[in-house]
Amino acid sequence: MNGSRSKRLVAYSCALTLLCAAAFFGTDRYGRSQRTYHAFGPVTATSIDRVQVNTPEEAYAHWQAKGLHGRKLLCFVGEWEKIKPESFFNVPQERQYPLDLFTYARALEEQRLDRTSFLYIATVTGIARGLEVVIPDRIYRHLAEQARSTKNASFSGEGVKLTYNGLPRTFMMLNHLRTPPEPVLVYVEASFFREHTPEALLNALARVQIRSDCLVLCRMTNDERVSAGERARLAAFAKAVGMPESIGRTTGEQPS
């Protein structure tokens, strides 16, 4: 080192590097701190929040009511309906200053919430920061085939990762299911039992030791495509995990 100038430069460099490292570390901590967890455990635990609802909209309302935010959402569904969020709202022709702008997330929640959009809206409003969607094998193969021609798909042993505007989404079959690194919100639709038995789902959840603080089972009473048999199998699944009809207690350990 030559002289005080060099020493000062090195000191500035170190200080700046430390500041940058602190910003990276702080950003990471900030992100993690924004996740809302409640007491969690296996889906069979009576200590976690478990509820049956009639419609997907009610499931959404339940997540909202629980104040959930920044979570991974693991869904078991029998269908995957493609939606086009870009056409949810028309750009008004009347565009005068000051512009009549709106909050996109709130508008979606108030005006566009339905059985096809509720998962997307859960991501926009911040309930979920990522979706892991388990679908029947037949639908998965169809979706994977379509995904091969898209620019945002990647395939792995855990299914197909198909982002939407940067949102992480993974589609998979039941046998792709792996242990998530953190407690997840679990959502099971009656339609999932069109091609799966309650035992198969229960075994899969036990095999990968899913930890959750919120299990929502949806009867899908507003979907004519769902049969009474599928709802009966959902009820059987509920019984198998020892679920009451109403919302469960929220006690138990907190994630580290």
Binding site: V10, A23, R32, G70, N90, L99, T103, P168
Partner: protein, 436 residues
């Protein structure tokens, strides 16, 4: 020096005038409107989009702050663009003077930028293409200030500017690379007592021009992290953005218009926005039609490639780093766009144009200076460019119909072209939002 500053100030004022004339009455485009919606969505929900989700998010942050302060009027939505578009004029003048060592060349480059149709167009729109001219120019200017005095603070400021550039569009990485190399090259023989040892300087350059911009870039994603994401999930987002940017062909419909960067300086090109707002118009049942038409001035654009060739030739011949770095700034900003396989629309040229205009200004004065009546020829050329730009100005600001001869039929020529429109799905929501 004083004369130079005064002339630059006058050019800046002229630039401000051209960038704001009748701006309040320029109908709000779909892009302008969606910039406001996207800024709110990003800052209040941390969600990217709904429009242009694959670009970094500095624009969302700045527009949101401006709207918090000034409301969703003209200043809130487009204030930054007018400011950046205007301030890039003195920055270009200062950089050109420093690198090409000529006040005439600097003033000429600044003049060309002041009246450049594309620069005017995107200083008057809310989308962030003008940012990719302004922040790199600011970063280069501050780096050059550091090289003049070796005061460390300049490089910290430069790091902030480069970070903002990267957080506007990734294309800022190209001029940053050239500037970093120039910095290393220029400071290789710096006096240790004034600038510090080579090791200390290099460490400082890495901290200010690599770590700091990366950190600024990261921090612009704070609203996204507020959705619960951690650092391990961030690279996947960047990868998604990269894939969309790499393969982008339009968000809803494939964008029309000139889209081959390789043709920019070989044939006349243009960028046009066609949109409709409420009101009646004889040309369309969709409402009042607005056409913003930025036609590249062929008197300037067609000189760019010869001008860069001259910069390289003279730079090598004279062993002049100023000429060579100017050429490198142009080439490294431009060539990646040329070899990119997806369509590149002319608005992206704003990341290249400042350096292209520096080259053209250099060409003009290197050919004419010292020649008999050289100044007159230069004046004649610049007058011709100014007259052409005056004719091109009205279409840029959406008043093309006022042009004599072509004006009355201009809109009719474009009315049947594809344009951005969507079938009404639901009327847009009415919400009470807090005022400024």
């Amino acid at each position: 020096m004083k004369g130079f500053a005064l002339r630059v100030a006058l050019l800046t004022l002229a630039g401000l005038f051209l960038r704001t004339l009748w701006l309040h009455s320029q109908p709000v485009s779909v892009d302008d409107y969606m910039v406001g919606i996207t800024a709110i969505n990003y800052m209040e929900s941390g969600q990217l989009g709904p429009t242009m989700w694959n670009h970094p998010d500095l624009r969302n942050i700045l527009v949101y702050w401006a709207m918090q302060l000034f409301g969703s009027g003209l200043v809130g939505l487009k204030g930054w663009n007018v400011l950046f578009g205007t301030l890039s004029i003195p920055l270009l003048a200062a950089i050109t003077r420093r690198l090409l060592a000529s006040e005439r060349v600097a003033l000429t480059a600044a003049l060309l930028w002041t009246i450049e149709p594309l620069a005017i167009d995107f200083s008057r729109q809310a989308i962030n293409d003008i940012y990719i001219a302004f922040f790199p120019l600011l970063g280069i200017y501050l780096t050059l200030k550091y090289l003049d005095q070796y005061r460390p603070a300049w490089l910290v400021l430069a790091g902030f500017a480069w970070g903002c550039g990267l957080a506007s569009k990734w294309s800022a990485v190209f001029p940053l690379t050239v500037t970093g190399c120039y910095l290393l090259w220029q400071s290789r023989h710096a006096v240790v007592d004034a600038a510090g040892s080579a090791v200390a300087r290099t460490a400082y350059y890495v901290a200010t021009l690599v770590f700091l911009p990366c950190t600024i870039y990261l921090l612009t994603f704070l609203p996204w992290f507020g959705r619960g994401y951690d650092l391990t999930e961030w690279p996947a987002l960047q990868h998604s953005m990269y894939l969309e940017t790499k393969l982008h062909t339009g968000y809803h419909e494939t964008i029309v218009g000139d889209h081959l960067a390789s043709q920019w300086f070989i044939k006349p090109v243009m960028f046009r926005d066609l949109y409709f707002t409420a009101g009646s118009e004889e040309h369309s049942v969709n409402g009042k039609m607005t056409l913003l038409l930025a036609v590249a001035d062929p008197l300037v654009w067609l000189l760019v490639l010869p001008a860069v060739a001259m910069l390289v030739y003279r730079g090598i011949g004279r062993r002049s780093s100023g000429e060579l770095v100017t050429a490198a700034l142009f080439l490294l900003a431009y060539l990646p766009l040329v070899i990119t396989r997806r369509p590149i629309w002319v608005n992206t040229a704003l990341s290249v144009l400042p350096f292209a205009l520096m080259a053209v200004a250099y060409l003009v004065w290197n050919i004419l200076e010292g020649k008999p009546a050289g100044k007159r020829w230069a004046a004649a050329y610049l007058s011709l460019v100014a007259v052409t730009s005056a004719a091109l100005y009205l279409p840029v600001i959406g008043k093309g119909e006022l042009l004599p001869l072509v004006g009355p039929t201009l809109l009719e020529r474009f009315v049947n072209e594809p344009h951005y429109s969507k079938e009404p799905y639901l009327t847009h929501p009415r919400q009470e939002r807090p005022g400024p």
